[in-house]
Symmetry: C5
Subunit: 369 residues, 5 copies
């Protein structure tokens, strides 16, 4: 009963959350390390490679064909961005051109990994989960981004086209921006910062959902509300897994002793570190709030049950005894003197009214009315 | 039923708690670092700047116009206080005059940050959340305060006019007070101490609300009580987020190796550190107490349900069998010899009374009466 | 119903627990550090000062008037004990005589602090909460004790007369006891040890209450039991706050590099440390036991609800169908042939008995009877 | 009622989980250390020993009889695999041939141990739990694997035939594979890696079960669902115990200073370490999801109870008062004037319809219909 | 109802668990340190002292009278075992003979302590809780064992006769055993190992109880099941307190720099350390399982309540409306035309059957039947 209107209230999250939490994250067990096997969902669109090359005075960008290392030059920064990890041959070729360790390449195509930063010889390797909200359903989508920082270049690998890096590209294009005057390490910082900053938007969106659910629990809770809380909790788990390791990732970049990361960039990385801490803090607080919602929901279910039971108890407790009295005088015994009294009937009605009245008074005294 | 009087009992917290927990805390993702974008609620009143300049013998104070650095002098301490972070141009100008790093300025105007202390070149930068209780609603309000300590000056930035620093101003104004004889680092300490000391008042106020709710749960719990506990829990989350990082902040100031903080001031900072630990301790204890309240509430709901069900069961169990007996002798069979017995009716009444009596005795034995 | 006898069962704790947890613990925010403001409950009895001065061969003790430092002598140990922190002037005077840092004095009179040990110049300062149980109500009372250890003397400050130090005094009075042969640091150890040892008594008393409640939950739980569990939980929070920091306090004394604490005394402090660890362990175990009680209580409430519902269901399920049958043959239709059958009535009674019997059998099979 | 179809829905885990968690893990207490007592379930098949010996150019493999050390040669790697730990004599003999410490041998045959790596003289000893899922029941089976790495050889000990090492054997057999060109430490790495990689498959399988249960809880929860959640939780405990110590194990291998593990292999071990961290992360997330399922289940039970109670309350509240009215006019009083009114009956029917209608309206307003 | 058979199912633990958790663990507060006061339950049997003295070639053992130090000799190991700590004089005398520190002696007789290892001058002192299960009741009994290791001797102190050391004695008696060839430190190790190994037996016994309860919860839960779970939880707390500190104890022995513990023995202690870790692991897992049982129990109570309510609702919802109809035609109005219809009665019976049928269909559609 009355379950139908629930479905319209709060936009429901699609049921993919658990799936994303437990999806296949690794290659077939036992294959040799460094084997490149793409582990994400199948994709049909071809992988594409774009590059931007900039220095203080010049910017070039375009789709890339042929050997990329031709673009490397000592006085400019090269950013090569790959959309589509399913083209394993392409990744392999790039790995060769930029001399990346096989384990790096394996990690690039194994999507769903934990965020981390690692140094392999002359390369700094970063894996991070880019979170975006699907504004129709409020669903949080996680996409793996891998960055490789080398002397004079940054490679970025994404699962599919569309990212949170557009503002960074705009800053590169605009003359006189700080990013143009800096080295490749600053570009790597800017990309990580863009991903981390976007976490705030995601948390804000989820915060809005929490607020709506809080209102719904207070005003009109139903089993659908519970389901929404449950799904929100799972969204929180997706976010938690993406966000927690980022602090350590950034910390690893700050503590790096490699010459790849300049000290001037470390000041900015410390800023990202603060943001990561704040995001974790906010995410944990949201989790606490959602847990509180579940408690409130359960208590409101109990309370409504209480209300229902009170109504039943009051109705039954008043009318069952009265019915009994009526039943008694409906009996067909030959010798029931009361039946023949002149005032028998009015008297009985008075007794009934009295009984009902005192029961009502009793219930009112108990606070049930 | 009986829900109406609840609303008058405990002053209810406004529903803004969740909003404050998840509000937008950062600039647009992807903008370059050091971009000054005020992230708080819009304000109409203009930002104002006050200064106090004092040494052992003299105090000057006033509203400030024009260049502030004119006020800097080697033998006095300058305190510049800004009310209103929405005037980004003003902040920018001050940042230039006192040569603050762009990331400091960005943090100053990004309200809702985690408390922290940082050293940037010759500046010690402190962000802390000032908590105040709104005495009408018992609502906890959090306002970001940023402090910058440099050689001979302290800058303080607040979201709006009104603060907890009045006693500090009074101590500066009163001749012969210790603060007059000390350097700018002591002023910075005094400001942090004033914020931290005020946390005790906020906890005391919430403690009072907890006591009232404890009484309410014991004596007359309702769904409104549950809501109040739920909201109090969220207030506790606001406080928790403000208070936890303060310990680390003060510890950072104590462990600072910069010459900005004198050793004589560190003794006082250790005192603030002890206060911060004690506040965290008290806040966590309050959280435990509030969780306990929720358990008590749920158990009292169960108990009341039990009471309701007992009444229903007793009434129904006694009168339903009796009604059945009455029904039997209300049947119209031609051949029902009992109906014609002289003592049939009185006998039946006796049987009924006996049935009722033994059921009552049974229920009493079970402890239901 | 049946709620009345509950109040006699387990001696109830007074409702002051929450109050003690959140009481005002600090001076007015913003007053300068080192301001002496007593923060405990008002007291009327005057503060008193007693001293004991002892060496291997002699003991003197008495109420003290006048300057205390006269009593200091290189070859004896002086113990000055103050009962009553509300006499701020007295504390100030003593502070002057024994050259105590203003922050120490401020901590002495700010009751309700977290236990800690600190070194300020030539003084070791210890704050610890003395717990005692009020044997009438089982209430745990917490009283702040501050100790100052200097070369050749120990000062102790208590909120009011009456303490756990009597056995220590007796040991000082008895000739040949170890304490007489040792320095002031051993006296400080003996006082801390007396406070910590008393925690065991308090835990034992609470343990007894837990045992009684455990029995009550098993045998005759009521809402009053729940309240008692709830209050016991709050008592546990009072104890927890007092006890946890003691471990760190003692550890601080052991690790102290000051000459005030002799190595020979450190062996004894390590013993106190072990006791502190054991007390924390016992307190946490008791907390777990009390949480378990709450679960047991809730489950027993559910079970009793189940019992109540089973009775209702059995009674209603048996008699409502039977009443219906009786109702049918109480109808006044002209044409109801059964009514005129010779064996109609006995047959119907048989049908009724059969119905009741098969329902009873069904319920028994389900294990409801 | 309606319990029967449950058993077909989600394939149920066998009830062995608890047994596996608490099974006998150690020899008889008090026997001298180094006593070899097999602690697993009894087995009838004889233990078998296989070997593989390989270098860049050659591979030999076969069942082994006689002394194994004959196979050791400086220019090839020897892998000896034992299936069946119940043949204690065999283990003892191998221990002698490869000079293994008695405590290593004791650990080899004590199945059910915590994963660990240890160095004893010139041997690196690794114990790890190999998890496999039984695809019929979804049951997680844990089997102890012990590895001993020495200069030029690896010994592996398994409880029974059948393992996750087949892909490693294939890589050894295929010419030109990296493993052929490396030393024994790389083989040890490859075996640990195979075990760890297989954890992903197990988690994926359990993740699928979680997804199915999530659907079942949402759509048609029953007590059988609860039991399945409960059993899944215990499977999670089995996994947790196996997986948590693996991180430390791998870390121990990485930090090993023994010459047995080359630096080139450590890069690969770091990769395994990342996998171990990710597995722990995933396992903990799954645990959280399963806990959430239990909450959702309990709330849906409450909701369904609510639905049931509403139906009862509506039916009883409407018809009990009406029955009372009918009862009143079934009474046999001589003087009941209403009975003789011409419109008495229709009027009463109208009153009854009105009562029922207003009660229905009331319930609809409350949202119960 | 139906509560009686419960008591036979799972052997119930005696109610002493809480008592053991909170029992008096320390001497009277305030007595001087080193005062020997036995704190265990009173005992009547006299304390006894046995010794074993062995070297590679000889073993002597017997009950001891007179001075024990006569037995010390440089080329043999002496083990003195005391059963009965209540004979304080005896302990004091032994303390004198073996020159033990007064704090060691105090700890020896203060039963109920936390496990620990300490070095006092030339003595290594170990306190450990020996757990045994009482096989009649499944009760876990904890008995304190204190060990003192000196050059050439080990003293062991137990609360009462009967211990887990018999296998160690047998190994000493059997010629050629390793223990005979080793020093006193190996004996100390063997005793600790015997105690720790016995924990596995205790956990196994409790594991069996958990399995039985798991079955009981699934098949026939009752309030008695809940009580058994509750008591098992408290048993787990007893074990937990005994087991957790053992890891640290053994670690302390391993890290000891005293010459008392040879390096060759440390290898064996590392083995004990692994066992301690595994025991803690198993104990924590069991705790999780027991918590899961409680959840399952509560959910099964809810489910059974649901079943009960469904039966009530179905019976009442079907027969209450029918009774109403019967009541209507039992009214005595003069003008009730239906009563005089020829087919009135059969028609009404048909209507009643139809109503009942459609309600039954409705309930079946809801899945209640």
């Amino acid at each position: 009963m009355s379950e139908r209107p629930d479905h319209q209230r709060v936009p429901r999250l699609p049921r993919a959350a658990i799936h994303r939490l437990v999806r296949k994250v690794r290659k077939r067990p036992g294959t040799p390390p460094g084997t490149l096997i793409y582990t994400g969902p199948p994709r049909v669109e071809p992988a594409t490679v774009h590059f931007m090359r900039y220095s203080k005075d010049r910017v070039e960008e375009g789709r890339m064909e042929g050997d990329t290392t031709d673009l490397l030059s000592p006085d400019s920064v090269l950013w090569v961005n790959v959309d589509g990890l399913h083209d394993v041959g392409l990744i392999q070729r790039l790995g060769g051109e930029f001399s990346l360790h096989p384990l790096i390449l394996e990690d690039v195509v194994s999507v769903g990994q934990r965020a981390k930063s690692e140094e392999h010889e002359e390369r700094l390797f970063v894996v991070i989960q880019m979170l975006t909200t699907d504004f129709d359903h409020g669903k949080v989508t996680s996409e793996q981004v891998a960055l490789v920082l080398g002397e004079g270049f940054v490679l970025s690998f994404q699962e599919r086209a569309g990212d949170v890096f557009e503002p960074v590209r705009d800053r590169i294009r605009s003359e006189g921006s700080r990013i143009r005057a800096r080295d490749a390490d600053y570009l790597a910082y800017a990309l990580v910062d863009a991903v981390v900053d976007h976490y705030f938007s995601v948390l804000e969106e989820l915060g809005g959902q929490v607020e709506r659910l809080d209102l719904e629990v207070m005003e009109d809770p139903s089993q659908a509300t519970m389901r929404a809380i449950h799904e929100l909790k799972q969204e929180m788990l997706v976010i938690r897994r993406a966000v927690w390791p980022v602090r350590e990732l950034v910390n690893g970049m700050i503590r790096s002793e490699s010459a790849l990361i300049r000290d001037s960039t470390k000041t900015f990385l410390r800023d990202v570190y603060d943001h990561a801490v704040q995001i974790i803090d906010t995410a944990e607080t949201l989790r606490d709030v959602v847990s509180g919602l579940m408690d409130l929901y359960l208590s409101s279910v109990s309370n409504r049950m209480n209300e229902v039971m009170k109504v039943l108890t009051i109705m039954a407790s008043i009318f069952i005894p009265l019915s009994f009295l009526a039943g008694v005088y409906g009996m067909n015994f030959d010798f029931m003197p009361e039946l023949h009294f002149r005032w028998g009937y009015p008297l009985l009605v008075a007794v009934m009214a009295g009984t009902a009245g005192s029961l009502l008074a009793l219930f009112r005294r108990r606070g049930w009315l």
